[in-house]
C-alpha cells in the first residue's frame, strides 16, 4: 500500500484518489449481499481501505455484482452502471456472474455477465469470504496502477456491441443509448 507516499500523490493525484477511495454502490443482486454487512461493519472493517457503501450510483465508483443475475435484475444493473460517473470499476462477486454457477441451466439467469457490462475482475467462490473482497480491492489497486482496469473505456468504445447483447437478452430497452450508436441513426 502506497497511500502515504507524497511523491506518487503529486505525480498522479487522480489515479491515487481513485485507488484509495472506492465507494461501492449498495446494490443487492443475489445472495452474495449477505457477505457485505460483515465486510463493512466492525468485524472486517472495509473502511480502513477507503471502501464505503453509498446509497446512490451518482456517488459510486465501484460496482460489486453480488450473486446471481436474473434477467429482471440485469435491467437494473445496466441502468445503475450507466448512471455511475466515469472512472468506474465493476467486480463480479461469486461464481454465478462468471458462468451461472449453480444456476447454469436456469432459464432466466444471465450466465455471462461480461457480455452485457464490462467487468474488471472476478471473485470466484460460493460464497467468497469477506477477506476475498479485500484481496480483490488490492488487485484492483494493482490493475489501476498498471492501467489495466479500463472497463469503462471499453464500454464506451464497444457500446454498440454491448447494446446489441443487452437488447438480445431484454428485448427493446426503454432508455436511450448512453453513447451514440452509429447504425441506429443511419
Amino acid at each position: 500500500m502506497d497511500r502515504g507516499s507524497i511523491k506518487k500523490w503529486l505525480k498522479a493525484p487522480g489515479k491515487m484518489g481513485q485507488k484509495y477511495s472506492f465507494w461501492v454502490v449498495y446494490f443487492c443482486t443475489g445472495c452474495g449481499i449477505i457477505e457485505i454487512p460483515p465486510t463493512i461493519t466492525s468485524r472486517w472493517d472495509a473502511e480502513r481501505f477507503g471502501v464505503i457503501p453509498v446509497a446512490t450510483p451518482r456517488q459510486a465508483n465501484l460496482f460489486l455484482i453480488t450473486g446471481y443475475v436474473s434477467v429482471k435484475t440485469l435491467r437494473a444493473i445496466i441502468r445503475t452502471y450507466e448512471q455511475m460517473p466515469d472512472p468506474k470499476y465493476t467486480v463480479g462477486f461469486g461464481s454465478c456472474p462468471i458462468n451461472g454457477g449453480m444456476y447454469w441451466d436456469s432459464y432466466n439467469t444471465i450466465k455471462h455477465l461480461d457480455k452485457y457490462i464490462p467487468v474488471d475482475g472476478w471473485i470466484a467462490g460460493c460464497m467468497p469470504r469477506p477477506e476475498s473482497i479485500f484481496i480483490a480491492v488490492t488487485h484492483l489497486w494493482t490493475m489501476i496502477d498498471k492501467g489495466m482496469a479500463t472497463g469503462y473505456i471499453k464500454y464506451r468504445e464497444k457500446y454498440k456491441n454491448y447494446r446489441k447483447n443487452q437488447e438480445e437478452a431484454l428485448g427493446k430497452l426503454e432508455w436511450p443509448p448512453l453513447y451514440p450508436v452509429g447504425d441506429k441513426n443511419e
Binding site: R3, P13, G14, M16, G17, Q18, Y20, S21, W23, Y26, T41, S42, D45, E47, R48, G50, P53, V54, A55, T56, R58, Q59, N61, M84, P85, D86, P87
Partner: protein, 293 residues
C-alpha cells in the same frame, strides 16, 4: 489594510484545514468506538481528490449555481467569525449578520436540489428546512441571551468581555447547554442526520450529486463544521489565541462526536419536538435570567 487582505485569504484556508481534520477525525474516532481500525485521518481529502477527478453530471444551470451559492455563503460566514483574534470582516452588528447568512447554505442546497427533480431530493430538502426551523428557535434564544447579557451585537466585543473576566458559560449555563444540545442538529450528525439518511432516502439532498458537485458539498460541510463549533467557542468559551481556540474547538467537537457515535437516528417529528421542547425552554429561561439580573 494589507493585514486585513491577508487574513481574508488565510482564514478560509485555516477553516478548511480544520474542517477536513475534523471530518477525518470523526471517521477515525467513530471507527475506534465501533472497535474498528478506521480509515486514515486524510481520508476525506483523498475522497475529495477522487471526486474532483471524476466525471460530473449536471442537471442544469441552477443545479450548478445552488452548490456554489451554498459554498459561498459558508466562506463569507467564516470571515465574520473571529478565530483566535483574526476577524477580518468584524463589524458592530456581526451577530445579526451571522443569523442571516446561516440560512444561505440550506437555501443553496434547496435551489440546486429543486433543479435535479429527484423525489428523494425533495424529501431531503423538506426535512432540511423543517430541521432548520426546529433548531433556529433555541439557537436564536441562546444568541439573544448572550446579546442581552453583554449588551452588544458584536461578536468581537463578546469575546473581549469574556477574555477580561470569566467565560460566558459560567454566567449563562442554560443557553450554553441549549446550544450544545442543538449542535448535532446544526452539524447534521447522527441523532439528527435525518436530512442525509442513506438508508431511508438514499442520502437525501446529495442523491444527484456526483463528482465535483459532491466535492464542493464536502468542502462546504467542512466549513460548516468549523462555523458552528467556532461560534460556540466564541460565544460561550471565551475565544482564545490560535492554539487554545483550536483546543476548545476540538473538545466541543469530540463531545458532540461521542453522542453521534452511539445514538440512532430520530424521525423528523421527534427531532422537531425535541428541538422546540428542551433546548428551547432552557434557552428561554436563560434569556429571561439574563434579562432580569
Amino acid at each position: 489594510m494589507i493585514i486585513k487582505v491577508i487574513s481574508i485569504i488565510v482564514l478560509p484556508l485555516i477553516a478548511l484545514i480544520i474542517g477536513f481534520f475534523f471530518l477525518g477525525l470523526s471517521r477515525k474516532v467513530i471507527a475506534r468506538i465501533h472497535r474498528r481500525y478506521g480509515p486514515p485521518i486524510s481520508q476525506p481529502l483523498i475522497d475529495v481528490i477522487k471526486l474532483i477527478n471524476q466525471e460530473s453530471i449536471s442537471h442544469g444551470k441552477l443545479f450548478d449555481m445552488g452548490v456554489i451559492l451554498s459554498l459561498a455563503g459558508s466562506v463569507i460566514l467564516v470571515l465574520f467569525i473571529p478565530f483566535g483574534g483574526i476577524a477580518p470582516l468584524a463589524t458592530s452588528g456581526d451577530l445579526l449578520v451571522i443569523i442571516y447568512l446561516m440560512l444561505l447554505a440550506p437555501l443553496g442546497v434547496a435551489l440546486s436540489g429543486g433543479e435535479a427533480a429527484n423525489p428523494n431530493v425533495s424529501i431531503g430538502i423538506s426535512r432540511k428546512m423543517m430541521l432548520a426551523l426546529g433548531y433556529e428557535v433555541p439557537f436564536l434564544f441562546s444568541l439573544l441571551a448572550v446579546m442581552t447579557w453583554y449588551k452588544t451585537t458584536s461578536l468581537v466585543e463578546v469575546v473581549k468581555a469574556q477574555q477580561s473576566f470569566l467565560w460566558a458559560i459560567f454566567y449563562l449555563p442554560l443557553p450554553a447547554v441549549a446550544y450544545f444540545m442543538i449542535l448535532p442538529a446544526m452539524l447534521g450528525i447522527r441523532p439528527f442526520d435525518i436530512v442525509s439518511a442513506p438508508q431511508e432516502i438514499a442520502s437525501g439532498t446529495a442523491v444527484e450529486y456526483g463528482g465535483r458537485y459532491l466535492a464542493l458539498t464536502t468542502i462546504q460541510h467542512a466549513f460548516h463544521i468549523f462555523i458552528d463549533i467556532a461560534l460556540f467557542v466564541n460565544l460561550f468559551l471565551g475565544g482564545g489565541n490560535l492554539l487554545t481556540f483550536f483546543v476548545k474547538m476540538l473538545v466541543v467537537f469530540l463531545l458532540g462526536l461521542f453522542i453521534n457515535a452511539v445514538f440512532p437516528r430520530l424521525r423528523i417529528d421527534q427531532a422537531i419536538k425535541y428541538c422546540w421542547k428542551w433546548p428551547a425552554i432552557l434557552a428561554l429561561v436563560g434569556l429571561i435570567i439574563a434579562r432580569i439580573i
